[in-house]
Subunit: 445 residues, 2 copies
């Protein structure tokens, strides 16, 4: 997006103008973290770093942007000239995408001259809040249906174009098999799924004619939507057609049911298909699904092989935002924090150490200042230097594998969708000391 | 977005390929409607039509799009050539943006050759679901605080870039005064607001130094953030500074409180400001607000003049999606509908007639077939013909005024944020007859 530099809150620029005027351009450290997990989440999956790096590398104000800013009458010509040369030249350290994270842990740390580190707040949060939110929601569907085909169906009720694209990406990282969203398929190389809507059936003279016409045009990976008029009747229409379609080499992989009592329909349809010699045709269901309905269908033994999970995953319906923040941790050589009631933060550039037991199960994290040590594996790694990535991006498949490994390392209680677990995150003595320093300095200022 | 044609579900294109191959290109009518309102909504505000028209007018597949589609191996060269000439050439009728609407009422009707009317489903729903959702949520803040300054603060936790832009637009239509989002300000001509974050305060040696530095750079419409360390102390710092700032001509319009017990802080701050000769400085609050907290603050008489309402409005936290659909109503000369359990639809191209009493209060709507008549005002008007808009777009201010007039016409119970009202929408005999026809035809097919 060419205008992306303006996709920010006005206050970022009014602050920048003051920073520049008062030459407050020393090195600053900001961190993005989640203050508290939603009640229905035992862990989060970090996601969105890739798009943050894209944003930081491309960040600049075009002449048009600056002309528009000038027209607002809020900024001096000197500041607008300065903005013409504004680039992100700092460092970024982060937990790799796909890493499991918990409350208070820094997902992304930005170290740069104060104006740069400050400015990127709004868009960085906009990117990381959403993708982390969706990855952390989508993984619950994967946990509910470990072996089923899971397809993102949420484009139509996602919150705009970018939400649709980013939720397709984030849900794939979290374990979905693909998406119905073509542009997400193109942009991220995701598998795409989909065949027909009810309108297709209704536009034909009959359901059977609709199936025949579709199969005359498409012969691979065909899924017939069978609930437009009467679901069981739809299944019988498929059975009746299959000899002819097989003879023509049409590969019918599944039928889709999108309404009604899904378990009851699925059982009846399974029986009709099996008795009709169509045991190889799988049953795919959709319609207002989430992890709770997936779990329920599994628990009652509904013969369902795949799910289109849309709206409720794409908007994270039970928790549509994270209590997240991007806060100044350190500036001009000393730690900083706010002490606002209920929103006090731990200062300093931080590292996360994660401890595991002998079986590889994780047992707790320690938050330390960068430079301190603690037992366990350090999770925060440098990803950008001098405003540029220092390594190639991870493939989405490798991020997916990181999620899988992370889930395998969690104590089983954390994987229970109904349980509430609170993961132990210790605060190092170094951080506590820095907090005292920051408070003492403010008290004497 | 140049790739916007691909921002669609795969099934739209697989259906199109079959429609084209079987020459199913007769005129089709699709309508977008909401099946049921969320429990906490007594009405919805239609929004997003402008962006739908933009999308329809610009719709085309670039050579790059078609090359990528070819690479998927799913489409024939003949279909991809046909797609090169694909344009939207149809008609659109709709209720104007800002109109109050209810369950089952068509917000947008598309009449076009079947492939066109079908294809636009995914993106049209993506646009209209979201903006209608947000306008219908944001108006609740305006109802809770009729006279306060209301500013959209939600960029950082909106679901991506487009959600941030569109929620700024939709909330302005619904009665917000402006947004913190600069790009939304530029693109839609919205008033933008904002001055400083906690980081600005923390980066300075003291809160007083921070205020002084800010006011040295910005002299108009200054708002000081006073809760970084101690809110009442922050208010005293402002009072102490004001003589000097006034002498320099700095216009301090408000202080902002972003944390803690807002009512308690606001009362204490109001007293400090008033006693310090700063009775003209208003109090602006922010931080996890929604209509319930606004109403509560008003009910307990908290001296608050303005609100930054962010996340919970921008994601419509209590109802983050609408139960909406875009359904085939009529094709090739006869009505169509699906009868899927729980999702049966009323067929036919429809009109809404809205009846008012002598005082101008609305009393009920009648859904009719286009061409039928009923008492009241017809709400659905034609907006596009032959793929082009037939009139200039409404200004956002006129849409805002339409919302205001709509609210004034509602029975007072509907404006009670805690009440559940069900607005009477009658179905005409013409529609019932069309439904019987559609069912009879399918039964005999």
């Amino acid at each position: 997006m060419s205008e992306e530099a303006l996709l920010t809150d006005l206050y970022e620029l009014t602050m920048l103008a003051a920073y520049v005027e008062h030459d407050m351009q020393d090195e600053a450290v900001f961190e993005f973290f989640v203050r508290a997990l939603p009640p229905q989440r035992n862990f989060l999956i970090a996601a969105g770093l890739e798009q943050v790096c894209d944003y930081l590398e491309a960040l600049r104000f075009s002449a048009e942007d600056r002309a528009w800013l000038a027209s607002t009458g809020r900024f001096s010509p000197a500041f607008l000239r300065w903005l013409g040369d504004f680039r992100f030249t700092g460092e970024v350290s982060a937990v790799p995408e796909g890493t499991l994270v918990f409350a208070d842990e820094p997902l992304i740390r930005v170290t740069a001259p104060l104006p740069q580190a400050q400015f990127v707040e709004s868009r960085l949060m906009n990117i990381v809040n959403f993708q982390t939110l969706i990855a952390s929601k989508a993984v619950r569907s994967r946990l509910a249906a470990p072996d089923a085909l899971l397809v993102d169906f949420g484009l139509r009720r996602a919150h705009g174009a970018e939400a649709a694209l980013m939720s397709a990406r984030a849900s794939f990282i979290a374990g979905f098999d693909g998406t119905s969203n073509l542009l997400a398929g193109k942009r991220f190389g995701l598998p795409v799924y989909g065949t027909m809507a009810h309108a297709f059936i209704e536009a034909c003279a009959s359901e059977t004619e609709a199936f025949e016409r579709y199969a005359a045009t498409h012969t691979r990976q065909v899924t017939f939507l069978i609930d437009t008029y009467d679901t069981e009747q739809g299944a019988r229409h498929v059975v009746a057609l299959m000899p002819r379609l097989r003879a023509r080499g049409v590969e019918v992989v599944s039928v889709r049911i999108d309404s009604g009592h899904l378990a009851k329909h699925a059982r009846a349809v399974r029986q009709i298909l099996d008795e009709g010699g169509c045991g190889d045709i799988r049953i795919f269901v959709s319609g207002n699904l989430d992890e709770a309905s997936l779990l329920h269908l599994k628990e009652i033994g509904a013969p369902v092989d795949g799910f289109g999970v849309g709206t409720r995953m794409n908007v994270s319906a039970d928790a549509p935002y994270l209590d997240c923040a991007y806060k100044l941790q350190h500036y001009a050589g000393r730690p900083r924090r706010k002490r606002s009631t209920g929103k006090a933060t731990w200062p300093g550039a931080k590292q996360i150490f994660r401890r595991s037991d002998a079986q590889g199960e994780i047992v707790g994290d320690t938050l330390t200042l960068e430079g301190e040590t603690a037992p366990g594996q350090a999770l925060v790694v440098q990803v950008m230097k001098c405003g540029r990535r220092i390594a190639l991006s991870d493939s989405l498949l490798s991020l997916r594998e990181r999620v899988r490994a992370g889930l395998a390392s969690l104590p089983p209680a954390y994987l229970d969708l109904g349980a509430q677990c609170s993961y132990p995150v210790e605060i190092s003595s170094g951080i506590r000391h820095a907090a005292a320093l920051a408070d003492a300095h403010e008290a004497h200022a």
